[in-house]
Amino acid sequence: MPDLRDLYQDVILEHSKAPRNFRELSAANHKAEGYNPLCGDHFTVYVDIDGDSIRDIGFQGSGCAISKASASMMTQILKGKSTAEAEQLFARFHKLVTGAPTANGDQTELGKLAVFSGVSEFPVRVKCATLAWHTLHAALEGKQQTVSTE
């Protein structure tokens, strides 16, 4: 039986209560909206890209603890990374939360994001954990329409 504490780790609860980079970026040159119609979670991710490097990143919106903490920690880890590194991290993060087999070194790359490993025990919450990442992906690709987790 999955343990609640595996899902609601202290770091996650802390980020959900005090999300980092929870702001609109006026300098953003990429942005996208993400929406989970199942629960109504709704975020906008703002990215300021210089060349292929993420100079600044922020988000706004509302959602559950998992989606908000995931968005917050995503913005923390991505600042200063290249867009290619961001996409690679998303792929690894997705494997982590869906419980897919991971390659050697994936966990190290994910760093603090490893706290989301408990999500894999709660399949209905995978969409919560990945909403901000899907939205980021859309922002990097320059998609205008709202991305949906459905």
Partner: protein, 426 residues
């Protein structure tokens, strides 16, 4: 409302309330095999009845019996099994007719559910009566299934969708509703009970107001039929539609009641077998009511299961169920409201079986996951009623909804679960 509920002394509740009308809840629970199981090592506390209710053994047996003994196609075979299947199927229609007191069994159309009933009326009566600039009037409490079919019609016809507002308690503003009835209003479509917040709307008054202007009224009764006596003739509604699966019957089954005169004048919904009298390549003559609206082989087992569900409810007495559920709702409202940092959404004077609430600082989705770990099933989200969420300025709510087999002990388990949620998020 919250503070009033909080002040209610416990002694106001009679100790024998578990046994209202002489029915014994613990005994009734044994009729529902699914309730015997453990979920995540704990006793299942099923409080998601507004989504779907559990099925008593009598319903499961009726469906099994049909497939084991009577299965055959209806209305066409001359052989013995077809005769028996047809008889069972038509008996179920009569059971429904008596249950909602329709004037005739030919006014009972079997559908896949409430949603199909509404779409049927929108696509037949609606398409022939609503034109450019005409108005369709709904309320702010509607489920998406009583919004979207009318939007499709609106967009096809260039019509307008009007919405009667509710107050901060979730009660329909009757004066506003009446003002919105205009010479261009061609149909009124209203929920009987809000699935999201439990408001019972003043249906008789609404129907009288609409009829004074010769506007027909469709009622979405999905949430009402399991919780109160519905008499379509006394209400004088023009269409009434509901689902079997919220009434202890099988999924994929529903009912549309319509007044004969209206149904007779409406074009068919879908074409196919069973809905015709004769077919040539030049011309088709449609079957009489209700078969005109039942194209294709119907859900025979579903109808029989629904009939068994109604028999089950009738044997208990719907007024007894209503009293029991009312007691549970009052008890749950009091207990949940007494927790710190909880706000009940929907505090109408007339409510049935639904308690919707939000917790400070905790998203409903997280509430649902934590309660699930305790074996408690509730619904979290927008309940397919996003405009209701927008009206109350919440992204979503947590919703506990009650059925005949729920108990005060289960409400206590819910309250303990909510305390656990608050501990996790403290």
């Amino acid at each position: 409302m919250t503070s009033v509920a909080r002040r209610l002394p416990t002694v106001l509740r009679p100790p024998q309330a578990q046994n209202i009308g002489g029915f014994d809840v613990e005994k009734l629970r044994r009729d529902f095999p699914i309730l015997k199981q453990k979920i995540r090592g704990r006793r299942l506390v099923y409080l998601d009845n507004a989504a779907t209710s559990q099925k008593p053994q009598a319903v499961i047996d009726a469906i099994s019996h049909y497939y084991e003994r009577d299965n055959s196609n209806v209305h066409r075979g001359v052989h013995y099994l077809s005769e028996r299947a047809t008889e069972e199927f038509e008996n179920a229609r009569q059971t429904v007719q008596r249950f909602i007191n329709a004037a005739s069994a030919s006014e009972i159309i079997f559908t896949r559910g409430t949603t199909e009933g509404i779409n049927l009326v929108a696509q037949t009566y609606g398409r022939t009566h609503v034109g450019p600039g005409d108005e369709i009037l709904v309320t702010a409490l509607e489920h998406h299934s009583n919004i979207v079919p009318w939007q499709l019609l609106r967009d096809e016809k260039g019509a307008k969708l009007r919405v009667a507002p509710v107050n901060d308690s979730g009660e329909l503003l009757l004066e506003e509703f009446e003002k919105l009835l205009s010479p261009r209003t061609n149909i009124v479509a209203v929920t009987h009970i809000s699935n999201a917040i439990g408001t019972v709307i003043p249906l008789r008054q609404i129907i009288e107001m609409a009829h004074r202007r010769n506007v027909p009224v469709l009622v979405d009764g999905a949430q009402a039929v399991p919780h109160l006596t519905v008499d379509v003739q006394a209400l004088d509604c023009d269409f009434y539609t509901f689902s079997s699966h919220k009434l202890y019957g099988p999924t994929g089954m529903g009912v549309l009641y319509g007044k004969s005169a209206l149904l007779d004048a409406m074009p068919p919904y879908q074409g196919g077998g069973d809905m015709i009298s004769s077919v040539t390549f030049e011309k088709t003559t449609y079957n009489k009511l209700p078969y005109k609206f039942e194209a294709g082989t119907p859900h025979v087992a579903g109808a029989i299961g629904l009939g068994a569900a109604i028999d089950y409810v009738n044997a208990l007495g719907i007024e007894n169920l209503a009293a029991h559920e009312h007691d549970l709702l009052a008890y749950a409202t009091e207990k949940v409201s007494a927790l710190p940092g909880i706000r009940v959404i929907g505090t109408a004077k007339e409510k049935a079986a639904v308690l919707s609430f939000v917790l400070d600082g905790v998203h409903p989705h997280d509430v649902g996951t934590i309660l699930d770990q305790e074996g408690i099933a509730i619904r979290t989200g927008h309940h397919c009623a996003q405009p209701v969420m927008q009206r109350f300025e919440v992204p979503a709510t947590a919703r506990a909804s009650f059925a005949l087999y729920n108990t005060r002990e289960e409400v206590d388990v819910l309250v303990e679960g909510l305390q656990r949620v608050q501990e996790v998020f403290a």
